[in-house]
Assembly symmetry: C2
Homo-oligomer: 355 residues x 2
């Protein structure tokens, strides 16, 4: 299995996704973060990306930042608060980041309330972060098991961006569903949107599918509509970066267009996301903060300029797909059909005691 | 004015669009074709592209191929047929190519029927080709004059690909409309789809707008839907590569998606194209041949690989937008609102005697 984020020798090790694709079978480009600043930098620069992966990377990063700590209680609290705040400013849209910070904060407060030694607090934080990594993979496997029921033999599926092992600690959400379906012996064809500007589809999903020997065809984002019109796609599945209480989904820019096109062509549109992606504090998608990134992501490919110097650029990294365009949201706890405030709350509240 | 295709010193001179963008004010990358094979190669490799530009380049290319000709009449006819056939195989979708070949063939047959000398036939073919170049610019100016009536002060307009001076002998179709509107003193903002895979929006339209000092903002194709949802775009205008008798429009891949999104957001969707782009021999868009191009257009940017080796690619260069999604087609003879078989025939038949 591809491991995207893990702990090794007192460091947070990340599969450096800026350097993918590399030759299958070749050595993987790893980024070894020996201090928490490096983890924040990795999140900001997309060395690690994908909502669940950002979450677990932040958890491990916080644990890393708390490895060598003072015995002074006030200083200890101050350090934790500083690190947590810095991580919370790394990227704005994916809620899994804030969810992970919250989990770590809760563990920290429990440990300090129990009057643990500084060393034991540090150890406890690492344990919790490692649990989050493990749980992310378990969650995705459960999510995949539920979601594969929606995939039929002979399907032609379209996916956008990378909601795979590379977007998580491992296994993946949208691509986890496809992995599960393959394990059940289902055969389907897969189209991958290249996903401009950062090309997560072309660079990451195409690579991940090759790595797993799942046949796939790469297209440009603008080709999806014409594929749907010609009947060559019958299902769409994506991940999510944040889901509001009413089921509106923030995900990689271009997801909204796909959902409108899917509706126009009567094609089911599925979103696969763990419960940690839901943000019940937000009523609807209008309130989800949308990150705008540097113009160079659009005007350059690597160091090569592809647009004239000085041209204005608008580069939102995400868009919001309203719940009415979403056929179902697939979670580790089950499938929410026709997602809405009621159906989401029903699933999440059932789970609340256990979280 | 930017000149894209012209005749100079017994050669067809093309602005080499593969090498754009270059610095504004710097020297333009010209491709001087001294034999017709070079013109065909330029069409195939997109050194010259855009339906009207391909048409006039082919006309000049045929004239070039007929400059040094035999006195033998059978050989003369054979040479013309050979050259015309080779041009007709250069690109399949844009009908302006076939229209231009037809114009040249008709001129050739008239000249031979009149028993002109070979030298005079050669001269006549060049005259006709130069007329087509001149007429293309005049046509676009007339088209722009009609179309500018649809543009209002304060509009926020989205365009796809390059339907500008670079797609024609000069002036442009969709961008010609915007040029005209500017000349009337109308102020509007412009968004440009980068237009993957060949990036005609980022490389050509962005450059052309800078060249003309028309402010514009570059986006990725996948951002258009979310721009529409947020109310930041209120009109869309594109060119066309072929228009069927019923008003279905073949244009750069991604046009169809934009039209579906425009409909969903109640945004007018305009197509600007000269009458030469209409193909009344084709009932509807299903019969328009859609060119599929090399996978490397998707997997590489220049020499840089952006997708893993061996990944399958689907790369159609065009798609078909059904007439029902098109608010109006703008031609040099007037605007066809709610285009359909009847309204199109009415405009074209009116024109038939004059062509």
């Amino acid at each position: 299995m591809i491991r995207t984020v893990y702990w090794e020798n007192e460091a947070v090790v990340l599969l450096d996704q800026r350097k993918l694709p590399v030759a299958i079978g070749g050595s993987l480009p790893l980024l070894v973060c020996r201090n928490y600043h490096q983890v924040i930098q990795a999140i900001k620069t997309l060395a690690v990306r994908g909502a669940p992966a950002i979450g677990v990377a932040a958890a491990l990063g916080i644990a890393l930042g708390m490895r060598k700590v003072t015995r002074d209680r006030v200083a200890l609290h101050q350090r934790f608060a500083k690190i947590a705040t810095e991580f919370s400013h790394s990227r704005p849209t994916a809620v899994n980041l804030f969810w992970a910070i919250k989990q770590m904060k809760s563990a920290f407060l429990q440990a300090t309330a129990a009057d643990f030694s500084s060393a034991r607090i540090s150890q406890r934080l690492l344990e919790v972060a490692l649990e989050l990594v493990d749980n992310d993979i378990k969650t995705n496997i459960a999510l995949g098991e539920h979601g594969q029921a929606l995939i039929d033999d002979g399907d032609a599926i379209l996916t956008h961006c990378n909601a795979g092992a590379l977007a998580c600690a491992g296994y993946g959400t949208a691509l986890g569903v496809l992995r599960s379906a393959r394990q059940k012996g289902k055969n389907f064809s897969l189209f991958i949107d290249e996903t401009r500007p950062v090309l997560q589809g072309a660079r990451l999903t195409a690579w991940e599918m090759q790595y797993e020997k799942i046949p796939a065809t790469l297209i440009c984002d603008s080709m999806a509509g014409s594929l749907m019109a010609s009947g060559r796609v019958n299902k769409i599945i994506t991940g999510a970066d944040r889901i509001a209480a009413n089921g509106d989904v923030a995900n990689k820019i271009g997801t909204y267009s796909l959902a409108v096109l899917a509706k126009a062509h009567k094609i089911p549109f599925y979103v696969a996301a763990p419960l940690a992606t839901f943000d019940l504090s937000i009523d609807n998608g209008c309130d989800i903060p949308i990150e705008e990134r540097a113009p160079e992501e659009v005007t350059h490919i690597g160091v090569k300029r592809i647009a004239p110097k000085g041209i204005s650029v608008f580069n939102p990294a995400f868009d919001v797909t309203p719940a009415r365009l979403i056929t179902a949201i697939i979670t580790e706890r089950g499938i929410i059909k026709r997602p809405g405030k009621k159906s989401i709350r029903a699933l999440l509240v059932r789970d609340e005691g256990k979280r």
